[in-house]
Amino acid sequence: MSAETERLALSVPGSLPGLAAAVEAFDRFSTDNRLPDAVRRSIQVVLDELLSNTVRHGRDTSHGVTIDLLFRLGARTLHVEIGDDGPPFNPLDSADPDTGLRLEERPVGGLGLMLVRSLVDEISYVCEGNRNQVILAKRLEE
């Protein structure tokens, strides 16, 4: 039997309830496929960071934003594609926050995208037409 691939494709509105629905759907996908906790938790953080950015940036658009997600499970790697029709936004484009600052000096924001880049093994971004597309991969074993 060849390596089986499990897939989950779904679309959610670019809203906080949509974000929650995406995280819940991936949670079930993880359980159904017995993903290691470390992988599931990392991807759930990544989804929270990326989708909350999409929701935030899409708030001023005249049309509602739609987020399309695709999860593909290979023998050794989980592939995730996240597309949306919101304003162009590249999550790879932000500078890392200074994590060496003392408590009083630490700004409250800026950590999310740094976490995303650290929690996945591969990540790429493309803006095509009016669509943002983030493609990422996470190895199943450390």
Binding site: R102, L103, E104, L115
Partner: protein
């Protein structure tokens, strides 16, 4: 989000259950800030029931830590699972927050003061 509280002397132990992320962090923030605004000076956050934390959750912990520091209070965290530990490492939080292996140690840490 289910948040339970336990008092041990002057120390309040707050235990959020589940994930601390965009959907749940506002509630945790209201809970912690409410306690701090009411004058709480010794706070332990028991992370034993926390599945994972995103930057939205880190933001709440940072706000609580800053507020307590400014008031001369003490905060300690306990019970971090490996995923939460990894997030803390990436964010550099171990150098700015007191983290103990378990709740008893965290209570002792904020009681002794640092």
């Amino acid at each position: 989000m289910k948040i339970t509280e336990e008092r041990r002397g002057e120390v309040l132990i707050v235990r959020p259950e589940g994930r601390i992320d965009t959907s749940t962090s506002d509630e945790l923030e209201r809970s912690l800030m409410g306690r701090l605004d009411a004058g709480l000076e010794r706070l332990v956050v028991d992370m034993g029931g926390t599945d994972y934390i995103s930057s939205a959750g880190l933001r709440v912990l940072l706000l609580a830590a800053k507020k307590l520091r400014a008031a001369g209070g003490h905060l300690a965290l306990a019970g971090l699972n490996p995923s939460v530990r990894q997030i803390f490492e990436l964010a550099g939080f171990f150098s700015i927050l007191a983290v103990e292996a378990d709740t008893d140690r965290a209570v002792a840490r904020v009681t002794g003061g640092a």
